[in-house]
Symmetry: C2
Subunit: 202 residues, 2 copies
C-alpha cells in the first residue's frame, strides 16, 4: 500500500533522487515506526548517499512528511469513491482493529506521543486529523441524507467514534486481556448504535 | 499525592534505605515519566548510593513497582470510602481531563506504549487495569442497586467509558484543536447518558 501511495502521490519524475528518498522514507517509517527510523535506513533503501538526503531534506521534516503521506492514503481509504456511506461506515467499524491496521495504529499513537515535542509531526498530525474528521463527518452526513441513519450532531459523533477507536486500539496494542479485535469491533458498533436515533436496520 | 501514597503504602520502618528508594522512585517517575526516570535521579533523591539501589532492586522492576504504587492510589481514589456511586461517577466524568490528571495520563499512555517490550510494566499495567475496571464496574453496579441509573451490561459500559476516556485524553495531550478538557467532559458524559437506559435525572 505504501508503495502504491508513493507512486501516486509524489511527483515521480522517472525515479529522481528526491522522490526515491521520499518514497524510501515512507516505506521505512511504515515498517519501523517514527522513533526507530533512521536516515541511514532511508539512504540505504533509496540507494543514495547521506549528502543527497541532506541536500533535499531536513530529517525531522522528511520524517513528518513521510508519515503524512502514509496517512493521506488512510484518509482517502476511509470513504472510497463510488462507495455508499453505509458500506464505508461498515468497513470503518468492521476493519478498525484488523491485523492489517495494527501498523497504522502504532504509527498514529506514536505521532500523538511525539507531537508535543516535535513541531513537524504535530503539524502533520493536525492536518491529517482534520482531514480524517472532515471525511468521517461528511460520510455521516451523507448517510443522513440517504436516510441510512439519523444523528443529532454528526461532527460530535465523528469525534466520539474516533476517540473510542483510539482508546480501544490502545488497549488492544497493550494486550488488554479483556479485549480482542472482535470484541473491540462490538464495542465500537455499540457506540455507533447508541449514537443513532431511529437508525434504519439494514 | 505521591508522597502521601508512599507513606501509606510502603512498609515504612523509620525511613529505611529500601523504603526511601522505593518512595523516591515513585516521586521521580511521577515527575519525569517512565522513559526519562533514571536510577541516578532516584539515588540522588533518596540520598543513597547506586550500590544500595542495586542491592535491593533491579531497575526495570523498581520502575514498574513505583508506577504501580502511583496507580494503586488512583484506583482507590476512583471510589472513595463513604462516597455514593452517583458522586463518585460524577467525579469520574468531571475530573477525567482536569489539569491535575495530565501527569497521570502521560504516565498511563507511556505504560501502554512500553508494555509490549517491558514485562514488569506489562504486568503492572495488567493488574492496575483489572483493578480499575473491577472498581468502575462495581461502582456502576452499585448505582444500579441504588436505582441511580440502569445499564444493560455494566462491565461492558466500564470498558467503553475507559476506552472513550483514553481516546479523548490522547487527543487532548496531543493538542487536538477540536477538543479541550471541558468539551472532552461533555463527550464522556454524553457517552454515559447514551449507555444508561431510563436513567434518573439527579
Amino acid at each position: 500500500m505504501v508503495n502504491e501511495v508513493c507512486m501516486n502521490d509524489t511527483k515521480t519524475s522517472r525515479g529522481g533522487g528526491r522522490d526515491r528518498i521520499f518514497q524510501a522514507a515512507a516505506e521505512v517509517i511504515y515498517e519501523k515506526g517514527l522513533a526507530e527510523a533512521q536516515t541511514r535506513m532511508v539512504t540505504d533503501r533509496a540507494k543514495v548517499g547521506t549528502g543527497l538526503l541532506n541536500h533535499y531534506f531536513k530529517w525531522p521534516e522528511l520524517r513528518a512528511a513521510a508519515w503524512e503521506l502514509i496517512f493521506q492514503a488512510v484518509v482517502r481509504d476511509l470513504w472510497r469513491s463510488q462507495e455508499t456511506p453505509r458500506d464505508a461506515l461498515d468497513r470503518f467499524l468492521e476493519e478498525a482493529f484488523a491485523a492489517e491496521a495494527r501498523l497504522f495504529w502504532k504509527l498514529w499513537l506514536e505521532a500523538e506521543r511525539l507531537a508535543p515535542g516535535d513541531k513537524p509531526i504535530a503539524e502533520a498530525l493536525g492536518r491529517i486529523r482534520a482531514q480524517m474528521r472532515d471525511r468521517l463527518t461528511a460520510l455521516l452526513q451523507e448517510g443522513m441524507t440517504n436516510e441510512d441513519w439519523s444523528l443529532p450532531d454528526p461532527a460530535a459523533t465523528a469525534v466520539r467514534l474516533e476517540a473510542m477507536r483510539d482508546g480501544l486500539a490502545g488497549m488492544i496494542l497493550s494486550d488488554d486481556p479483556d479485549l480482542d479485535a472482535s470484541l473491540a469491533v462490538h464495542h465500537l458498533k455499540r457506540v455507533f448504535d447508541m449514537e443513532t436515533v431511529g437508525a434504519k436496520q439494514t
